[in-house]
């Protein structure tokens, strides 16, 4: 087999893995959008906030330490204990549910039946607010997150591919784990939405508020549930991204990569978020590998957006989105 093709295969596989990570973030967007019609700009920041909180709890960090120290002249930073990863993840989830409740109580409850653009603006505000709170609460330094996910080169794949192609592929264990997690997450989300009462209620609320009320569904309950779910997806994305590249504030920027993913997959489709993520992941890696060297590289920065632009021109509803029909 020609050498170039073997390299391309490795790039392809790595692209798939990167795509899974994009899909994880995009999922959170789709979920909220499907259930409440809100495009949640804050999804990326929620992932960051979840990761920050998780590290903070694990390390026994005192929240708002700087604020407390400045106000009372104390010098406290740590409680002096360490919380096991699993317990910390559970506690973080509790925090995310609390956040969901607060967000609904103070913001979105008051914006019922407003224009989508108003709701979108509210989520931008929420994004900046949350970023600020995260900073004050846990500090702005880059943190290491290790919840025990395996990392480093996968020896089995390396050896196997070396045997076949005489060239070992570098596939990160973390990416493989992320893929498994994403698959489980998607499967459970689909089961939840399709086969449970709560999932049915969620779909009903997304479809028609009045009709949902008339069959006995509480809108507030469903919204808090949806934001909690989004918080949960954000936590999963935060754990994977945080483990991969450290918990830092640029993490919230990965949300921007989810935008082209959504334009490709469609804003309303869970499978779309997955396929969209994979296409972008593979596309940008292969493009960088094949065309990149010819035009000076760094194509990964813009490839996804150009692809999304093309989709907007030719298929605005995305690959799997509901067909947009304008009745005249």
């Amino acid at each position: 087999m020609p050498e170039q093709l073997v390299y391309a295969m490795e790039v392809f596989l790595n692209g798939l893995m990167a795509g899974v990570l994009y899909a994880l973030v995009a999922l959170g967007f789709v979920l909220i959008y499907k259930a409440s019609g809100i495009f949640n700009y804050a999804q990326g920041v929620m992932a960051l906030f979840a990761a920050l909180t998780l590290v903070g709890i694990m390390e026994g960090q005192v929240p708002f330490a700087h604020l407390i120290n400045a106000a009372f002249g104390t010098d406290i930073h740590h409680f002096g204990w360490h919380v096991p990863a699993l317990l910390a993840i559970l506690l973080t989830m509790v925090v995310m549910i609390g956040l969901a409740w607060l967000v609904n109580y103070f913001v979105f409850r008051h914006l019922v039946s407003q224009e989508p653009i108003i709701l979108f603006m509210a989520t931008i505000g929420l994004a900046y607010f949350l970023e600020g709170v995260g900073d004050i609460m846990w500090g702005a330094d880059i943190k290491k997150l290790d919840v025990g996910l395996p990392q480093g080169i996968n020896e089995a794949i390396d050896e196997f591919t070396f045997g076949v192609f005489d060239y070992g592929f570098f596939i990160d264990n973390l990416d493989i784990v992320a893929t498994v997690i994403a698959a489980l997450l998607v499967a459970s989300l689909i089961i939840f939405a399709q086969y449970t009462k709560q999932g049915r209620a969620m779909r009903a609320v997304a479809d028609d508020h009045q009709a949902a009320l008339s069959v006995g569904i509480s809108l507030n309950y469903i919204w808090v549930m949806v934001w909690s779910l989004a918080g949960f997806v954000a936590l999963v994305a935060g754990i994977v991204w945080g483990t991969k590249s450290g918990v830092q504030f640029s993490l919230s920027l990965i949300a921007l990569k989810a935008l082209p993913v959504l334009m490709l997959g469609g804003f309303t489709s869970i499978p779309g978020a997955i396929v969209g993520g994979l296409i972008i992941g593979v596309g940008e890696k292969l493009f960088e590998f094949s065309i990149g060297p010819l035009i000076g590289g760094a194509t990964e920065n813009w490839f996804a957006y150009v692809l999304a632009l093309l989709f907007l021109v030719f298929r605005p509803q995305g690959l799997f989105g509901e067909k947009i029909i304008e009745r005249v």
């Binding site: 089961i191 086969y195 009462k197 049915r200 209620a201 779909r203 009045q210 009320l213 069959v215």
Partner: protein, 272 residues
């Protein structure tokens, strides 16, 4: 005067139960506009109760008060012998009051079957995990709910469209699906907001037949709003007539037809 706690028998031999809901001196204002002014009436178990009146009389407002979409400034709602506190619409629905809407509120993205099934969401109570893995209580419940839904679908003759997404259905069928969803909830009171609005003669006849059959077969108490006098008089046991937010008549169709205020309200204004 009839005793509100005692059943009675109508002229055509149907037995009408005791009062299940009573509206006492309801007043509803929107800013300076009085939509409903000091109206009282009751709904008896098993009857078909109509609220009629010209456009703008406050009929829809009244229905929205019953279903909890509006809370009146004055007056009390009594339901099953208890005074009802001010509730949210979903809480009213959970108490067993189902409704349809004048402008049809269906889940457009779902199939007919899913729409009707969602009407039974009140009857689903199994735990989340049980539902997801389809075991034990969840399985029993699902079977029960499916049977109930199929009964309603059969009854309203919409078997042929059960898998069709409702967004593809014509208007008349959508109205029927909405009725099916409300009926699937096995409500104590079924509220119909202009069930015949925008229908042609044939569809109106079908709908009338279904309303009568539902009442007959399931014994469902039905309160409906309509401005088509003819249809209402044939259907209902008792009629409340509203005009400009006030009650101007209340009684059997025959009594109401002879009421001078009602005649004036209907003949005195231009009306289709």
């Amino acid at each position: 005067m009839l005793d509100s706690a005692e059943p009675y028998t109508t002229e055509d031999g149907r037995t009408i139960g005791p009062v299940v809901m009573e509206m006492k001196n309801i007043t509803l204002r929107f800013g300076g506009v009085v939509a409903i002014q000091d109206i009282s009436f009751d709904i008896r178990e098993g009857e078909i109760r109509a609220i009629i009146g010209p456009n703008g009389a406050g009929k829809s407002s009244m229905l929205n008060v019953i279903s909890g979409f509006y809370n009146p400034q004055d007056g009390e709602v009594w339901y099953k012998g208890e005074k009802r506190p001010s509730l949210k619409p979903y809480q009213v629905a959970q108490q067993g009051i189902a409704r349809t809407f004048q402008n049809i509120a269906l889940f457009e993205g779902m199939s007919v079957l899913d729409n009707v099934m969602t009407g039974r969401i009140r009857q689903m109570s199994a735990g989340l995990v049980a539902q997801a893995i389809w075991k034990g209580k969840a399985e029993r419940e699902e079977t029960e709910n499916r049977e109930a839904v199929e009964r309603v679908i059969d009854f309203l003759e919409i078997q042929h469209i059960r898998k069709t997404p409702v967004s593809r259905l014509p208007y008349g069928l959508k109205k029927r699906v909405e009725l099916a969803r409300a009926l699937a909830a096995e409500p104590s009171i079924l509220l119909l907001d202009e069930p015949m609005a925008g229908m042609n003669v044939e569809e109106k006849e079908d709908m009338s037949r279904f309303i009568l059959d539902v009442n007959d077969e399931f014994g469902t108490t039905i309160a409906l709003i309509e401005h088509d006098m003819g249809v209402v008089m044939d259907l209902s046991d008792r009629v409340v007539v509203m005009d400009y937010g006030k009650k101007i008549g209340d009684g059997t169709p025959d009594e109401v037809r002879r009421n001078q205020d009602v005649i004036d309200a209907y003949l005195g204004v231009a009306h289709d």
